[in-house]
Amino acid sequence: MKDQFSFYSKFFIGLLIVLAGYALTQFHQYMDGYEISILIGSVFVFSWLGFYWTNFKNFFIAIFLLAFLSIFLYQGNLSIAEENFFLKYFLSSQSAIMWMSTLYPLSLIIYWIHLFNSQAFTGKLASNLVWIATTLGTSGLLIRWYESYLISVDIGHIPISNLYEVFVLFCLITSLIYIYYEEKIETKKLGSFIMIIINIAVGFLLWYSFAKGAHEIQPLVPALQSYWMKIHVPANFIGYGSFAIAAMVSMAYLIVDKGWLTQYLPNKDVLEDMTYRVIAIGFLFFTIATILGAVWAAEAWGGYWSWDPKETWALIVWLNYAAWLHLRLIKGLRGSLLAWWSIIGLFITAFCFLGVNLFLSGLHSYGEL
């Protein structure tokens, strides 16, 4: 993981700068000052990630190669997707996302095999499947971004604007966070638990796509046309993804606590520590996301806090994890109570993410079923 000052790192950062420069010169007429800042900011963020995490560099380069290949194949004409073999079966956004949706379940199965047979080969296979699925899914979103502009320039928008798109985002971000920790704590055993939650999301995604035709690209309603969306939504999903991982690790913790699978899973201290770390990461990002949401709301709705159901549930989620952190950090509490708490936390989070859209109405205007 540590080759910070290698040639590869320098090359990667150079590449990011070139890409951003290209985007700036080609598309600056479509961007306002804030969007340009976001673009430049993202160069720093991705450089930093790549600097500390070699595989992220590979990942990033792969998604861009795939996305560019797709754009090249499209030749600016959306209907080519019907005729071109590669686009139709691999590199149209929908196909790429479907590949992602096939590979995640596969990786779940392999992780479970690996859990019991502990062979390096199965572990490596499972991780690689997650990498490939994530790469395809991310390129799928990037390609979808491009496709939205092909439909019509004024329809074009970043693909994190409806429930379908954010579900894909959830799968991708959760996988990335997981795989980072997998490398860091050097165990592939947890994949068997974490891939469960990702595959639940995949299941929902498939149902939503096939039953409701949700993958159609729709134009943005005026309230969503804001640069804030580009930071608020990803930050939120880093939070959601981390909380989901925390709940799954807590599940593993409870199982080990019961004395089951102890010879297969990491020990309790490791699980406990990882739960804490992801909740801490999630809490920081969720705080930022909620604040950005308030800033955005101030601009779109005329008030930074309207007690809209989504806002209110974000507050509830936030309070929940603040309480969790208090208990652990101040009271020094450890053990199964906190594990149960973080599992219940996932239900609260899920209600904030989905339940609010399904059951409560409010100002948040996307993602009705």
């Binding site: 019509s152 035709g213 804490y276 920081l284 709705w301 209110t312 549930w313 509830i316 603040a322």
Partner: protein
């Protein structure tokens, strides 16, 4: 009160109250709650302020307690923390050092103080050394002291955010209301008659108020909705709407809402023009103006009123949305109340394609109210819509707002207008024409059949049939069959009657076309299909609640823009607090506080290394081991 338990309890209360507030939809009209919960529960809920949880006194009280508790906590803990932050613990005794989990004895005969200090400083430690009387050297080092400040930052942030929120929470208005200085206006009365008790002057430092402006209109006050009524807020300027535009995507969904405003300061009399849109508000004289919604602003409508059940000539009518017109019909006074007009309507009607919605053009909504005050609601589309490959004018009716509209489908003629159907209706109501057409059909029909049947009889019954149809459509025909024909013959009779009606109706059109060869209204490939659609429409009109059909000829669109005007002095503090919160959380979670001591007793070859932290994470074990091995390396 500054205990963790107290504040966690308060936090749980906030959580539970918030959940109630999201489950019970807030700030709805009180009647709708009444209908939903019944008088008994409505009264209880109202007493508890459950319809406006977040503005309730009890909710604000909890918030104030929370602030107080957190403040006390910060006041109590901060001095200690600041002291800790500055302090190097150099009074520590050897026994304490040995009690730490990470305590190592390292054999280091060539102890070099400077080398060790340099090493520690390279690892970002702040270092201090102390030599006591007996010549023992104690090196004290620490890093990550900011972690402790994180506590102050986060908790102070929560206080700042809550205070900012309270500043915008209308606390003063609440107090004034409680003391009876101000009163929420419940009645819907003209602005000029609203008493001072329900008016707030320009000095009000925090509000969120609404203004609805038609194009060309100007206002100097705004409305603050509050519980089941409202208050009137005086503005420091007048706001006028020059123009309102909606832009649409090619698919018809709205893309942007924009208002061109004219703002005139009351103080200086200066006028400013400014465009605002969703996500692009504008701040003028301390008040921020947002585009919040839009509606009709009294569109002018040119309408043609036709009686479908008589051959009276159609009557033109001029009206506006939000206006009502009195008309008399069959000696009864009716009122036509125009309620809404929409230029764009995105519908998903074409079932041949999956999920393709498109714009079907303007519609308008009106009520027809009779003398006893009862009213049906109508919604009519100006343009014909394509259904099953044919075009129909759709006009919906419902008796109560809970129902869906039931649509009368009038077929468009081949020019896409209503004229063809109106001609058809005139022909259908023309007794003479019908009679001659029936005769003609009987004569030209197959001779063998006409011999068997009594032509006269047939003609008579056909005429009667048409009479019945004119008066009540297929339903009346069915009714008469039910009454007059034995049940075993009913089906055959019904089939025969329908055939006759279709034949005659079609013939009426053919003859009309022959008389007026220049007319292009009935150029259909399948004319019988049109005449059947027209017959259906005529027949359905008996279920339309009225025989008056309103056709929208043209209109002059007037829109109204909904603005929100806010003054929010707390916003600055909320944002400042938010920044502190993020910094604080970062410090608290991601900075690891580490303290380290190296004790070198005079004359000994060993040193004592102790490392400790206030938060024990797994990574710390690694970190400690790392430092230890680095120090170990100093041997060489």
């Amino acid at each position: 009160m500054s205990s963790m338990r107290f504040s966690i309890t308060m936090l749980s209360f906030v959580g539970i109250a918030s959940i109630i507030g999201t489950i019970l939809k807030q700030n709805q009209p009180y009647e709708s709650y009444m209908v939903k919960f019944g008088q008994f529960w409505f009264d209880i809920f109202k007493q508890l302020d459950l319809f406006n949880v977040y503005q309730a006194i009890w909710f604000l009280t909890i918030l104030i307690f929370l602030i107080a508790s957190t403040s006390l906590c910060v006041i109590r803990n901060s001095p200690g923390i600041l002291k800790e932050y500055k302090k190097f613990q150099d009074q520590i005794r050897e026994t304490s050092l040995r009690s730490f989990k990470h305590c190592y004895e390292i054999h280091l005969p060539s102890f070099n103080k400077l080398e060790l200090i340099a090493l520690l400083e390279k690892s970002n430690f702040k270092v201090r050394e102390k030599i006591n009387a007996s010549g023992d050297i104690l090196i004290v080092a620490k890093k990550g002291s900011f972690q402790k400040l994180g506590y102050i930052f986060t908790h102070l942030a929560i206080i700042v955010i809550s205070l900012g929120g309270l500043l915008d929470g209308n606390l003063i208005l609440k107090t004034q209301e409680l003391l009876g200085y101000k009163e929420i206006q419940i009645q819907d009365i003209p602005l000029s008659q609203i008493p001072n008790k329900s008016r707030l002057n320009q000095g009000n430092f925090s509000y969120r108020a609404n203004v609805l402006l038609s194009e060309g209109e100007k206002q100097e006050v705004a409305i603050i909705p509050s519980k089941d009524g409202y208050l009137v807020q005086e503005l420091p300027f007048s706001v006028g709407l020059k123009n309102f535009h909606i832009e649409h995507y090619s698919t018809g969904q709205p893309k942007s809402f924009e208002s061109d405003l004219i703002l005139t300061s009351k103080k200086t009399g200066k006028t400013t023009e400014q465009k605002i849109s969703v996500n692009k508000p504008y701040t003028y004289e301390g008040v921020t103006i947002y585009q919040s919604d839009f509606q009709d602003g009294g569109t002018k409508l040119n309408i043609m009123v036709t009686d479908l059940h008589s051959d009276d000539a159609p009557q033109p009518l001029k009206s506006e949305v939000f206006k009502s017109n009195a008309i008399s019909y069959l000696d009864k006074a009716l009122s036509l109340e125009f309620e809404d007009f929409r230029l764009f309507n995105i519908l998903d009607i074409d079932n041949s394609q999956k999920k393709k919605s498109r714009n079907v053009g303007p519609n308008f909504t009106y009520k027809i109210r009779n003398e006893s005050g009862q009213a049906n609601e109508y919604q009519a589309y100006q343009m014909p819509m394509k259904l099953d490959g044919r075009y129909f004018f759709m006009s919906g009716m419902r008796e109560t707002p809970q129902e869906d509209f039931r649509f009368l489908k009038i077929p468009a003629d081949s020019e896409g207008s209503l004229e063809g159907f109106m001609i058809f209706k005139q022909l259908l109501l023309n007794k003479k024409k019908i009679e001659s057409t029936i005769k003609k059909i009987i004569l030209t029909s197959e001779p063998s059949k006409s011999k068997e049947l009594n032509a006269n009889n047939l003609e008579l019954s056909a005429l009667k049939l048409f009479d019945t149809f004119q008066k009540g459509g297929y339903n009346a025909v069915a009714f008469s069959i039910d009454k007059n024909i034995p049940s075993k013959n009913q089906e055959a009779a019904a089939n025969a009657y329908i055939k006759i009606i279709h034949l005659v109706a079609n013939q009426l059109l053919i003859d009309y076309q022959a008389e007026k060869p220049l007319n292009r209204l009935f150029d259909f490939k399948d004319l019988p299909l049109f005449s059947q659609d027209a017959l259906n429409a005529y027949s359905d009109s008996f279920f339309y609640g009225t025989s008056l059909f309103l056709e929208l000829k043209d209109f002059e669109h007037v829109q109204a823009s909904g603005l929100q005007l806010t003054k929010s002095p707390g916003q600055f503090w909320v944002y400042l607090g938010s920044m502190m919160l993020v910094i604080g959380i970062f410090c608290m979670i991601y900075i690891q506080e580490v303290r380290l001591w190296v004790l070198k007793k005079k004359g000994r070859k060993n040193i004592l290394l102790s490392i400790t932290t206030n938060r024990h994470h797994l990574a710390f074990d690694k970190f400690a081991a790392d430092i230890k091995s680095k120090i170990n390396l100093l041997k060489t």
